[in-house]
Amino acid sequence: MIAARRIRVVLAKPGLDGHDQGAKVVARALMDAGFDVTYTGLRQTPEAIVRIALEKDADVIALSSMAGSHLPICRKLKPLLEQAGLGDKLWIIGGNLPAQDHDALRALGFKGVFQSSSKLDDIVTFIRTHVP
């Protein structure tokens, strides 16, 4: 029997937001869950996120946004991910995301939307359940 390929996650900090405590905590939780995690570091442009996701052959593209610019960023990222053939991957986003924006984020293709109060195990379970 061939061992299942580990789930590959690219976890990015888009925009200029420097709050990375949460992103790093989530990255560690995903690593502990056995996923292959690439954390990008701060200030990633949409183009850079797409490039890294392609390089790492990511199954999951995860964003962390704490400073309120999640909607403009996701609007820019969506067409770039689709053009790069990453439209069928699992896109998720976490951070400081006001409830009134959740529907817009889901409509943009972000299947998992995790507010800052989310539990680590819930994020892990969501990825396991929804990964393509």
Partner: protein, 538 residues
């Protein structure tokens, strides 16, 4: 049990976040055994454990300085006047992320971020608008700026001078602590060495030309938010403060000519007594470091002056109204700890930047302590408590051990540049989050006393997309109106001085006076210095 024996004590082990075991009862014997070392003394006397001034709040309450700024300078100016009208005694300016990262509002990377988490600033014109009508002698201004600090300090000095203030008497503070930005917060621009040089340039320039201005506020705050425990928070901040002091001393400036203008910014979420002991311990340790290691002789050089009152990491998304109560305890901690300035976290900060209403509640919380609760009646009211004095001594010991460990591993600059401190505190943050989620670290409303009731409707601060376009239009007007040749000449001088190693402040001040923008000046410096490369290893 014989009559007269103390009652049997409960044996459950209680350890504070800094790793110190807490006993169920403290007596005079514990204070003695914890190596008091005569480190207590009187307020206003070395080593200042009980406070840096003899009378503290009896003479003057702490400065009230809520963190404020959003949209464009016109919006922010209105909020400044609102807070001052409500009794605030200082300003603490929040800048948007493009400004903090040294970009102009029309930079492609700034799209969607202009004016969002703070005020957008591109040129001196923005400072002229933002501080219009603010009496800069009565209201001292703190600039929360780091990567772009040299430029914004230059703008502040230029704006004040233009309005006729005597720069040699001008007071105020800039955060300007770049090493902690590498650990947490992340608004770095240049690599470590030129970044530290710029901090040195601001300290040296201010010591000579604006001696009442505090050019640096060294922050344990964000290191704690990133996962450090309270003892590490202070120990790492002191290591960073020493790195800046070393940079300035290397240039030949005597310690007593600048150390008195260094200040600190600390966090206060967590166990109340641990925080109070942390601040008292930190005060005596800093005095000791400055006297014994740096040979400071002026008392002011040994003072750990501090801003405190924030503690975002302790606030919760769940039951946000409880954050008002947490904020009140934060204020109490600060008042019991002899803080010079308070900036309280607002209850809505787990959601957004504070609304006017939330800021007024924070301001009233501090005013309540002064007017109703008697927190300004006497100095260091917890002084002499067996528990607090023992814990103060133990916290000081922990801080000394951590500082020695940093030195043994090659020093703070090396550890931060390589990402070692980041990895350490991030691992702790993960551990802490696991403890909250498995219930071993109790958090009210999160893992105990939860409720299904919907939180009361809160008014959130709205983001106005139009503010960004107005800001870009304003920048374009400034660019059209200014003397292009003067801007070019000033930017060339910035470049030349960056290369030669001269103090950059005179050239930067000249450039901002010519209305060169934050992005233009930063661009020239990046051309010479390059950019910081973040160590992202976990």
């Amino acid at each position: 049990m014989k009559p007269g024996d103390p009652p049997a004590m409960e044996t459950r082990s209680v350890t504070n976040e800094s790793g110190i075991e807490i006993k169920p009862l403290y007596t005079a014997a514990d204070v003695e055994a914890s190596v008091g070392d005569g480190l207590l003394g009187l307020p206003g006397q070395y080593p200042f454990t009980r406070g840096i001034h003899p009378q503290m709040y009896r003479k003057q309450p702490w400065t009230m300085r809520q963190y404020t700024g959003f949209g464009n300078p016109v919006d922010t100016n209105k909020r400044f006047h609102y807070l001052i009208a409500n009794g605030q005694t200082g300003l603490n300016v929040a800048f948007d992320l493009p400004t903090q990262c040294g970009m102009d509002s029309d930079d492609p990377q700034a799209e969607g971020e202009v004016g969002r988490v703070g005020m957008a600033v591109d040129t001196l014109r923005d400072f002229e608008i933002a501080f219009e009508g603010v009496d800069l002698e009565r209201i001292t201004v703190s600039l929360t700026i780091n990567g772009a600090a040299a430029i914004l300090i230059a703008m502040y000095l230029a704006m004040a001078e233009k309005r006729g203030y005597d720069i040699t008497k001008l007071r105020g503070t800039a955060q300007n602590d770049i090493l902690k930005e590498f650990i947490g917060r992340g608004t770095w621009v240049y690599p470590a060495a030129p970044s530290i040089r710029l901090v040195g340039d601001t300290i040296e320039y201010c010591a000579k030309h604006a001696p009442k201005y505090s050019p640096v506020s060294v922050c344990g705050y964000h290191i704690r938010e990133s996962g450090a425990d309270p003892a590490q928070e202070v120990a790492y901040a002191f290591c960073i403060a020493r790195a800046y002091a070393d940079e300035v001393i290397r240039r030949g400036l005597p310690v007593d000519e600048f150390a008195g203008r260094l200040s600190f910014n600390f966090n206060c979420f967590g166990n109340l007594f641990e925080q109070v002991a942390k601040f008292r311990a930190g005060r005596s340790l800093w005095a000791q470091i400055m006297q014994e290691q740096y040979g400071a002789t002026r008392p002011g050089s040994m003072w750990m002056r501090m801003l405190a009152g924030g503690g975002g990491g302790g606030l919760t998304f769940e039951q946000p109204e409880l954050n008002i109560v947490r904020g009140a305890y934060y204020a109490l901690i600060c008042a019991l700890s002899g803080a010079q300035t308070m900036a309280l976290c607002c209850y809505d900060e787990a959601y957004t930047i504070p609304s006017e209403y939330a800021q007024r509640i924070s301001l009233r919380t501090m005013q309540l302590l002064i007017e109703e609760m008697g927190l300004t009646d006497t100095v260091d009211p917890l002084g002499g408590s067996y528990y607090v004095e023992t814990l103060t001594n133990q916290m000081r010991g922990r801080m000394q051990d951590i500082m020695a460990e940093v030195d043994a591993q090659g020093g703070i600059v090396k550890l931060v540049t390589e990402g070692a401190i980041q990895a350490k505190v991030s691992a702790q943050a993960y551990q802490h989050q696991r403890e909250i989620e498995n219930g071993t670290f109790r958090k009210v409303g999160v893992n105990c006393y939860r409720t299904d009731e919907k939180a009361p409707e809160m008014e959130f601060h709205p983001y106005n997309e139009l503010d960004a376009s107005a800001q870009i239009q304003s920048l374009n007007r400034v660019r059209a109106d200014r003397n292009a040749a003067r801007v070019q000449a000033a930017l060339s001088r910035v470049q030349a001085d960056a290369r030669s190693g001269a103090n950059l402040m005179p050239a930067i001040i000249e450039a901002v006076k010519a209305y060169a923008s934050v992005g233009e000046i930063t661009g020239v410096l990046v051309g010479v210095f390059g950019r910081f490369r973040e160590p992202v290893g976990l």
